[in-house]
Symmetry: C2
Subunit: 367 residues, 2 copies
């Protein structure tokens, strides 16, 4: 890429690849390592390729996810973008209203090239306050007919915040009384069990459809699942085909997710506890604020009282000298001179205690 | 699957997997073998995962395909369905007409759940005669405004037929004189070079956009490319994102296609010659007709004067006793009592001469 920004991004990408440890997220494999691991797993489990989504691996994995979410059925999808577009489309057809409610910071609103508008002429109504989770009183304030309400659990753009359990139940109750289908953007739902102390099916109860990611927390190469009633999912598969999302084979995405699925889910509670511990330590550093102050999932947003480029340069300097990648993307915050980064606490940080990691964050903050 | 049809399909799928040789297509690997092969290739070529389609492997492969097709740019897409929907959408936006021309047997008309209608409210106008390639005189007969004309080279549903070179040039000339963009469904374009005796860029010249498959002839796990002018492809990438087709990583699809790309292309001419030789032999068998009588690519349709189920049972019996899979799907033809199967001549048949294979086809025909 010829532009300076592109060059800088490429330089930083190589810098990160050259690090022996990266604080954010779970440890990752190179493509070659990944393909060898999944080859072994396919051998051990007698995996065949699916054909246009039909096959034993996919059927079993879809059944596992549907069961875990307490839904009748689930369909593998190549992306969350597609899964949610399809859910919005189906609920719009049920209700006849080309309109849905969503958080101000919904992924469909911010990161999908306005797909729901461009493709379907839908009207997305921002509901609630963009700095906190969506609540029953926010829905109560909506006077216009909605096909469904998209609820993001947890809310990524505000550091993985969740409504309290009672608040979530109140929202579900109001939606039910209005006969309004709830759709869950559960891209990071797997990360929410520890806070609620409840199973995924109980969290997802009352949601008519649920999208979950297979790559963010789970670590598959790509992919998502959409879960709901059997009829809904059968119809979703038609739309998946229409959108060009039924690949001739989904095996690489499905197998790399399935081979880690149970292990990753079993690590989430520990990652959450580590996030709590880390946040307690970070809170003591000058020039740092956290959102939320007490994490509700194993992710949080770290704000620095320092411009983004200065923080990024500090991170790069650490990467150069110590082959340690402390933080991912660092961007300007709303407050001039402040910046913010998202930290997903995965297995790397499970093995590194605060005494080891806090000094790195202090350096990012300019100490 | 509980229904008898499903059971039969599953039984036949296992039967095919149990065969040591399959006449149709190129030799395939199990998922485990495939993933090991691509792991080695990634190691040897220093491959990193792309991030949402950005990465060295993808950029280089897209450049290779664009160059081969004589276009400014190309974009990897997860499926041909998506690639063609996007092309139709972009040409409709350019022209303002929500209408395009296509062959009667276009993939978009037959195999995509009416996606162009359901998603975009487009009107697809069948042009020409469904039993032969689309010609300039067919386009000349179209009086209504079209956003583009979709031309399928070769035409899969009639056994891989191609227009003659002069016919193709006449079609290109008429389209240019009408300022009508031509879009190529080149799902099997790689298979057409031998017949024309010309390079891909020369065949694709005059087409404003070209879709090619990365899995059919090439053997990648899945995927396609859409090629055209740089602006067109940049816009196509936006629509790919909107349709949910920009996976977080495309590496498995891209790498498994890229690692075979040159080898497969280099085999196509030999496969075409083998198809000619095989067709000459098949023509001598009673109860068999071919479409086309003389293949124009390394595929053909074989018609049997025998009901589909009888032919399928003969195939299954051979598979049981000799672990040889002679033919893929066998379906009823228009003529009562006749059936048809598609045969793609890949590397398997390169190594098996007519003396060996013709008796198997004779058995399918009831000899």
């Amino acid at each position: 890429m010829p532009d300076p920004t592109g060059n800088l991004a490429a330089v930083r990408h190589r810098l990160r690849l050259g690090c022996s440890v990266a604080f954010p997220g779970f440890r990752t494999l190179t493509p070659a390592e990944e393909f060898r691991a999944v080859a072994d797993w396919c051998d051990a489990n007698g995996i065949d390729h699916d054909q246009y989504g039909q096959g034993d691996l996919l059927a079993a994995f879809e059944g596992t996810v549907a069961g875990l979410l307490g839904k009748q059925a689930a369909a593998f999808m190549p992306s969350g973008v597609m899964a949610q577009l399809i859910a919005l489309r189906l609920w719009a057809e049920v209700s006849g209203a080309p309109r849905f409610g969503m958080p101000h910071t919904a992924h469909v609103a911010l990161h999908e090239e306005e797909a729901y508008q461009a493709l379907f002429n839908f009207h997305g109504v921002p509901v609630g306050d963009r700095r906190r989770p969506l609540l029953a009183r926010d829905l109560a304030a909506v006077a216009q007919p909605l096909a469904c309400l998209l609820v993001e659990l947890p809310l990524r753009e505000i550091g993985g915040q969740l409504p309290d359990w009672d608040e979530l139940q109140a929202l579900k109750d109001l939606a039910r009384s209005r006969q309004l289908p709830l759709h869950m953007d559960g891209a990071r739902l797997w990360e929410s069990r520890a806070y609620y102390g409840r199973g995924y099916a109980e969290i997802a109860a009352g949601f008519a459809s649920v999208y979950v990611s297979l790559y963010k927390g789970i670590g598959g190469i790509a992919g998502a699942m959409l879960a709901g009633d059997a009829d809904f999912i059968a119809n979703a598969r038609l739309w998946q085909r229409r959108l060009g999302g039924t690949l001739v084979r989904q095996s690489p995405m499905a197998a790399t997710a399935a081979m880690r699925f149970e292990t990753r889910l079993s690590q989430m509670d520990a990652c959450y506890r580590r996030a709590l511990d880390l946040a307690a330590g970070l809170a003591g550093l000058p020039g740092i604020r956290l959102n939320p102050a007490v994490p509700q999932t194993n992710m949080l947003h770290i704000f620095f009282d320092r411009p983004a480029e200065a923080v990024a340069e500090a991170r790069d300097a650490i990467a150069h000298t110590q082959r340690c990648w402390v933080a991912g993307e660092i961007r300007a915050a709303d407050v001039p001179g402040w910046s913010v980064t998202e930290l997903y606490v995965g297995d790397t940080l499970l093995d590194l205690d605060n005494a080891h990691v806090l000094p790195y964050f202090a350096r990012l903050a300019g100490a």
